[in-house]
Amino acid sequence: MIENNTENGKIKISVSDFNLFYGKFQALDNITIDIPANRITSIIGPSGCGKSTFIRSFNRMNELIPSVHTEGKIFLDGRNIFDIDAVELRKQVGMVFQRPNPFPKTIFENIAFGPRAHGIRDHRILEEIVEKSLRQAVLWDEVKDSLTKSGLALSGGQQQRLCIARALAVEPEVILMDEPASALDPIATLKIEELIQQLKEKYTIVIVTHNMQQAARASDYTLFFNMAENRAGYLVESGKTTDIFTNPKNELTEQYISGRFG
């Protein structure tokens, strides 16, 4: 509802009058926003205001829930994502979940899983991809000698970096992160935040976070969501992170940031 404020940079994702319903219950109310390319956009807001639902719309994971139906459009690089096959879309828009969820396979197999599913079978190519992804996820040095260990044997922070590497292996353009560090200890969290900073060079990152300090220090743009009286989520304000946190235009934003609710 409130206009966005991107730089002269490109727009990666463009949302237009987007509504989402779980059956009769409206979860997202008329969202219109542009997500800039190669930047980190964080989404903050109180619990239950639809932040996760919102980013899950970008890779159409919401469709897995049968009662969901949507109105409005979402464009990825100008193409309506609802016109693309969902499976194809998810190759371009990757996701990292709140709780690390590596498969019960070896580290190598976890990362090779995506490329393999997309048809790459040459083992040499797979090895290259695995190394590249693990390096990008800043995990290579820690696991390069134990690629045949089970992914579940890693620590929580390592598992999450494994999941990030796994998402990177399919070479997406956008990475969605749903509170990626909330299940981790502070040191692991820091590592993830550094990693995300490095990733923004090549990827567009949208990250949902409950942790306002994290949003403030780690992202370029911020979207503030809130829950209306009818429990639907709506976009209150959006803009450069520095602006939002030092000079919010909306009173609600100011209240949320200073901790007066949420």
Binding site: D85, V87, A117, G119, R121, D122
Partner: protein, 447 residues
């Protein structure tokens, strides 16, 4: 390296094409050589088969040439199928020579037969094996089209609907076939006679056409043996369940539970055998005229042991699902554990226990072979052997299930139909019983 692999596949493609042409040629040759008009000639099965095979082979050749992934998968699967067929037939041959004789096969023969089988297998399976290994080797040459996995996905989705419906099909067929087969009896003998007649004499045994098909003796046999099993087995099972759920320490539970499960897995004929060989002589000790050791008592004991695991399991589950808060509340008031069990736990688990008993009854009614072996199989209505009414336990009788099993192999016509009717009766009876048990169990869930 890649070029060599590509070229070898191209060579293979040419081979397949050659085979295809050969088959096409021989197929057409067959058609032409026969002195029949074309339409009739086209119905020659061998020729048609050859032509179809040739088209298929041609498709494979084209797929191979274009390095398509589906071709590789198809050839691998077919090769595996061929190998399995050959292996199975070799196993059949080997078994016949080694295991089916009347005397022990000497080791030398075993070894030589085994050797011959392996050689045979290798000869027959050589080509398929080579194909599989070769294709694995050049695996990465095959291009997997992007759409392939979507096609597979859609196909599986459709196929699984049919696979899933197989259960519906089986139930449907059971209904249809057993009803159809029993319709003869219903029409010609009549429900009245079947359900209330007290004599079962299929007729042709005595030589006259009209037999009598009253099921009452068998009905009574089933009912009496089930009642006996329930009287003996239910208390034992419930007490055991209480033991396992409430009283026994974990170490004991670790031993007893697998033991009960084992009991459930023992083949019923072994129980029957046990009844014949151990229980019958024991029962014969009762010095009463007509006591053969077989009969309702024997059957009840064995049946009780057989239904014990079922009842114990379900009862134990029911007891376990009673919330601990009930127990704690009772104990906190100063009740003993036994009082808690009797006044709180068991009443709370009541519906589960009833369901368990009902399931046990169903199991007892459905048991066949063990009962045949120990219940005597006489066709008369079971009556006490002398003035003491308890001696009915020593009477021999027959169950509904036993009736079917004993006579089905040689029954014909309306007799056979009557046996199917018995089956239908059992089926419906057990359907009702099982639905009842499930209904009671489901009613329990909300609490």
């Amino acid at each position: 390296m890649k070029e060599i692999k590509k070229n070898s596949i191209r060579v293979l493609a040419v081979l397949f094409a050659a085979v295809s042409f050969y088959l096409l040629y021989s197929g057409f040759e067959k058609i032409i050589s026969v002195d029949l008009p074309v339409s009739l000639a086209l119905s020659q099965p061998q020729a048609i088969f050859a032509i179809i095979l040739s088209l298929f082979s041609g498709a494979l050749a084209v797929g191979l040439w274009r390095l398509k992934n589906w071709t590789k998968t198809a050839i691998s699967l077919l090769s595996i199928l061929l190998i399995i067929i050959f292996a199975v037939s070799e196993i059949f041959n080997f078994s016949t020579i080694v295991f089916a004789g009347e005397s022990i096969t000497p080791l030398s023969v075993i070894v030589s037969t085994f050797g011959k089988s392996i050689v045979n297998l290798l000869l027959n399976c050589g080509i398929p094996l080579l194909l599989i290994i070769g294709l694995k080797f050049v695996d990465e040459i095959f291009l997997e089209s992007e759409t392939q996995r979507f096609i597979v996905d859609k196909f599986i989705q459709r196929a699984l609907v049919f696979v899933g419906s197989s259960s519906i099909l089986v139930v449907f067929l059971i209904f249809i076939f057993t009803f159809i087969e029993s319709s003869d009896a219903i029409l010609n003998i009549g429900l009245g006679e079947l359900l209330t007649g007290t004599v079962w004499r299929p007729g042709y045994i005595i030589g006259d056409q009209s037999g009598q098909f009253g099921l009452v003796p068998m009905l009574l046999g089933s009912i009496y043996s089930t009642i006996g099993a329930v009287i003996l087995g239910v208390p034992l099972a419930i007490l055991t369940a209480i033991l396992l759920a409430e009283i026994a320490p974990p170490a004991v539970r670790e031993v007893f539970r697998p033991a009960i499960e084992l009991l459930a897995g023992i083949p019923s004929v072994i129980f029957g055998l046990f009844g014949m060989v151990v229980l019958a002589p024991l029962i014969r000790n009762f010095e009463i005229a007509g006591n053969s050791g077989f009969g309702i008592l024997n059957a009840s004991i064995i049946l009780a042991i057989m239904i014990l695991p079922t009842i114990t399991n379900v009862t134990e589950d029911a007891i376990r699902s009673v919330p601990d808060s009930y127990r704690h509340a009772s104990l906190a008031m100063g009740a003993t554990r036994w009082q808690t069990i009797v006044s709180v736990v068991l009443p709370a688990a009541r519906s589960g226990i009833i369901a368990a008993i009902i399931l046990g009854i169903g199991r007892a009614l459905g048991e066949t072979m063990a009962l045949i072996m120990v219940i005597g199989n006489s066709i008369a209505i079971p009556v006490p052997l002398d003035n003491n009414p308890l001696t009915i336990l020593l009477a021999t009788t027959r169950t509904l299930t036993g009736n079917i099993a004993v006579e089905i192999n040689y029954a014909a016509g309306v007799h056979r139909s009557a046996l199917f009717f018995t089956g239908v009766l059992l089926f419906l009876l057990l359907l009702v019983i099982n639905r009842l048990a499930h209904f009671i169990l489901r009613e329990k869930q909300p609490s």
